[in-house]
């Protein structure tokens, strides 16, 4: 499908998939290697844009450090906050052991 080196290798896809905890199958890894390479190929022109001295935009609004007064207000009741949790015990979310 490609004449030249892929912008992203299969090993990189495996690595990124692990970082993202996506549990990718071998077939997905193969497909993503091709598709991500194709997409990144199209983004190559970006590298040629002169951005010397240009500040990055993280956000389109000139709003910084929006503060509110430190006042007590009602919040979600505990039972409501836990209403979608897969496993609850004594008002807490039960999780698998992190250390085994």
């Amino acid at each position: 499908m490609y004449d030249r080196a892929m912008p992203i290798s299969r090993d990189q896809v495996v690595h990124v998939g692990r970082l993202a905890r996506l549990g990718l199958t071998d077939a997905e890894i193969d497909r993503l290697t091709l598709q991500l390479s194709d997409i990144l190929d199209h983004f190559e022109a970006l590298a040629a844009v002169d951005t010397d001295g240009i500040e990055p935009t993280a956000h389109p609004l000139p709003l910084h450090n929006v503060m509110r007064t430190d006042s007590v207000a009602p919040s979600l009741a505990r039972d409501d906050a836990l209403s979608n949790a897969p496993e609850v015990e004594d008002g807490l979310i039960r999780v698998r052991a992190v250390l085994e």
Binding site: Q35, L36, F43, L46, P60, V95, R96
Partner: protein, 485 residues
């Protein structure tokens, strides 16, 4: 007028106030229309008939009590990433198939406060990632103009429902074109407000520096009215702009003579359909006949980079936002293995292909060794795109372009080629990246399918683009307001 579901929101409002019909009758008309066409359109993930009937009764009580607002009794479709207390909200994903939010989003709270009626939760591409509504875990939405074609996306359900008469108006969300592109493909009006104009509180996040909720309706007046209804400042969203909001309807009907309109040549590219070009050329002449000064000698050379900038920044933000779906606190939760195994199983089962693809792209662009080359570079070019628009708006009141390069495409056509799908957003991405307001409205048909005209405004200039859109629309006949379904 033959059926109540065919009305615009302002026509319906007139009828409700004049007691020609009740909100309950209006809602029943829309629900019957949903019964009649929904199996062909699939605009809704969840129908909320009983919520709608209850809200319609409350609306009638408000008309009786004299406390009705311009949105009271108006049947809405609400995109399914807008959380609604007690009503399942899926974001089009298996991951949230059983998620029943314990709170309301700001915009739904505003709709309820205004006395609007919710018909159902509208179908969408999973987590708003897509341009065809084919990436929904609940089946694709079909275009009411031709059910073998896509309605656009990601707010495809919201746009198709308006075009098909399955609601009077709707709410969608726009990250890179997700309101405007489906509005264009379904022949309805859609507005992506200035970033910060509408609160994102209770909106399931995709790209946080880009996401914005906005209205879809059958005409410009409806869209202006809805923005007035949902657009109040909200301290629960730290990016909600605290600036005062002018009344949008105040701009409608004002003369547009002398308005300076720029037409950037980078939007008239190879790959644009001839039929679209013809309709856009006519639209420009029509604007000229209204007294607008059209300048086609405008170049915005950064336009060509918007697609790469968007498809690096939005997936990067998405990869971070979607890290919360780990099977621990809510949503799908695969059990049985170790913590890490369960997390991977949950995400493998819960996310569809396009969502996985975007997460991968984002994690890659943010990962060590590639951050500067991709993510940071994209952020810097984002600055250049924004500066270019800013400079243009020192000379123009608005910019006019097509909304999409082509009319609605056949179902399945672009599913196997992600980049071809991304190209559908090529005209809607630049203003999204810059956080600017943009309106899409119908400007005629090509091959029997709607063509969208896009009007881009400066920061906070929703009033100006609605004013121009309203004048333009007034110059068109209303024969094609609803899809011939």
């Amino acid at each position: 007028m033959s059926e109540l579901w065919e009305l615009t929101a302002h026509e319906a409002q007139d009828g409700l106030r004049a007691k020609e019909f009740s909100a309950v009758e209006l809602t029943e008309s829309v629900l019957a229309r949903v019964d009649a066409v929904e199996d062909r359109v699939n605009a809704y993930i969840t129908r909320t008939d009983e919520v709608a009937r209850e809200q319609a009764r409350e609306a009638d009580a408000r008309f009786a009590a004299g406390t009705a607002t311009p949105l009271t009794g108006i049947p809405f479709a609400v995109k399914d990433l807008i959380v609604t207390k007690g009503v399942r909200t899926t974001a089009g994903s298996h991951m949230l198939g059983d998620f029943v939010p314990p709170y309301d989003s700001h915009v739904y709270e505003q709709l309820k406060r205004a006395g609007a009626v919710m018909i159902g939760k509208a179908n969408m591409d999973e987590f708003a990632m897509g341009s065809s509504t084919e990436h929904s875990a609940y089946g694709a939405t079909r275009n009411p103009w031709d059910t073998d074609r896509v309605p656009g996306g990601s707010s495809g359900g919201s746009a198709a429902a308006v075009a098909a008469g399955e609601c009077i108006a709707s709410l969608g969300s726009d990250t890179g074109g997700s309101i405007r592109q489906p509005a264009a493909l379904c022949g309805v009006v859609g507005l992506d407000p200035t970033y910060g104009r509408v609160s994102r509180f209770g909106i399931i996040a995709f790209g946080s520096s880009l996401d914005q909720v906005g209205p879809i309706g059958r005409d410009v007046e409806d869209v202006a009215t809805i923005l007035d209804g949902i657009g109040s400042h909200d301290p629960r969203d730290s990016t909600s702009d605290p600036a005062p909001r002018p009344d949008m309807r105040h701009y409608l009907g004002r003369d547009v003579a002398g308005k300076k309109i720029g037409v950037p040549r980078e939007y008239f590219i190879e790959g644009m359909e001839d039929g679209v070009r013809t309709r856009i050329d006519e639209a420009l002449r029509r604007l000229e006949s209204l007294g607008c000064e059209i300048d086609t000698d405008l170049s915005l050379p950064m336009t060509e980079h918007a697609l790469a900038v968007y498809y690096l920044i939005a997936p990067s933000e998405a990869s971070s936002n979607l890290a919360r779906y780990d099977g621990v606190k809510y949503g799908l939760s695969e059990r049985g293995g170790s913590m890490w195994e369960n997390m991977e199983q949950t995400r493998e089962q819960g996310f569809g292909d396009e969502v996985k693809r975007r997460i991968m792209l984002g994690v890659y662009a943010l990962s060590a060794g590639y951050y500067d080359q991709f993510y940071l570079k994209a952020q810097k070019v984002r600055t250049l795109i924004t500066n270019e628009f800013r400079e243009a708006f020192t000379r123009y009141d608005a910019l006019v372009t097509p909304t999409t390069p082509g009319v609605a495409f056949p179902v399945g056509d672009k599913l196997d080629d992600p980049y071809a799908m991304y190209l559908n957003d090529i005209y809607t991405l630049p203003s999204a990246v810059a956080g600017l307001p943009a309106l899409s409205l119908p400007c005629g048909l090509s091959e029997g399918l709607p063509v969208g005209l896009q009007i881009i405004g400066d920061v906070g200039a929703e009033g100006t683009i609605l004013q121009i859109g309203h004048a333009f629309e007034g110059a068109l006949d209303e024969a094609n307001r609803l899809a011939p379904l």
